[in-house]
Each structure stands twice: as structure tokens, then as C-alpha cells.
Symmetry: C2
Subunit: 96 residues, 2 copies
């Protein structure tokens, strides 16, 4: 399934900056960074649950915001991009 992950991390403190770096690293492991705080993850439900748990452990729920958008199987028809940072097709054929 395709899940869009967006976050706002409060980086006023050094601890906040650390959380931001950890969140970004974790998301990068599971998906494609399409904007600074926006990731598209093509992921199995069990794996997603794991990622969600990890992100919730990293974040500070009093200060940071984390949102998940489940885009479903027909996700390609739901996305429209304009401008820089073009993305790769996560389901495209890989030629090696």
C-alpha cells in the first residue's frame, strides 16, 4: 500500500534537531523523500505498523506533528506534481 508521511518537528532545541534527523532517516529507510518533510512509502501493512511505531517513539507528541495519508492501491491517479524534485516510479520496471 502507499502511505504518505508528513511531519513537522519543532527544531527550536538541539533535541528537536536530533528528532528531525532521526525521523528523516527512518522515513528514508522505508520510502522516497519527495519534499523536505514529505515521504511516499510503498510498504506492506506489517512493515508500515513497525515504521509507525518507530516514528511515534522518536517524536515528541507535545511538540511535533506526524500525519499519515493512506493513498490506497490507485495512488498514482491521486498524485500530481509540479516543479522541481521529480520523483522516481516506485513500481516501475528495474532494468539491470
Amino acid at each position: 500500500m502507499m502511505v504518505l508521511i508528513t511531519y513537522d518537528v519543532n527544531t527550536e532545541t538541539a533535541a528537536g534537531k536530533k528528532r528531525l534527523a532521526k525521523m528523516a532517516k527512518k522515513c528514508t529507510n522505508y520510502g522516497q523523500r519527495v519534499q523536505n518533510s514529505v515521504f511516499e512509502c510503498l510498504i506492506e501493512p506489517a512493515m508500515f505498523k513497525q515504521l509507525q511505531d518507530q516514528l511515534e517513539k522518536i517524536m515528541d507528541k507535545e511538540k511535533d506533528s506526524l500525519r499519515f495519508y493512506y493513498l490506497g492501491d490507485e495512488w498514482k491517479t491521486r498524485v500530481y506534481h509540479v516543479g522541481s524534485k521529480k520523483t522516481m516510479d516506485l513500481e516501475g520496471t528495474l532494468i539491470i
Copy 2:
């Protein structure tokens, strides 16, 4: 329909900072800011076309990234939030 709008504006220059402010203002007019660069817009298709045109005119397509995610009518089942910045229910009953 519900459209999620996310953007990354390159703010290395004063012109970039101006674009960012303009993009944010425009999106705020049409929807709810759920994170710094993430807006949820419950909007009619004709109005959305207008907003999209305006955003594309403001942005620098060489430097900035703008993404639209069409969440459809069942959008409430597609969104999951954790942490701060709780949002209001855009379709809820308004008591006056």
C-alpha cells in the same frame, strides 16, 4: 473534494521567501494548514483549478516543488494524525 497540498519552496533568496509567504497565504485562503507546508483543502473542482493555477504562477518551477494529493470523498478514513497541531473537522456541524 479533499485535496492535500504540500510544497517545498527554496528560500535561499529574498525572492524565495516572498514566494513562500505568497504560497502559504493563498493556501490558507482555501484550506486548513495542518503542518508548515501541508494544507488540507475541502474544495469544489472549479475552485481547485483556480487555486492550482494561482499556485503555479507564484512558484518558481525550477526551484520549488508543489504536490497535490487527491484524497477523494472517503478522505476521513485516509488520514491519521499523531501529536500536536490537532485539526478541526472541516465537515463538522457548526453551532452558532
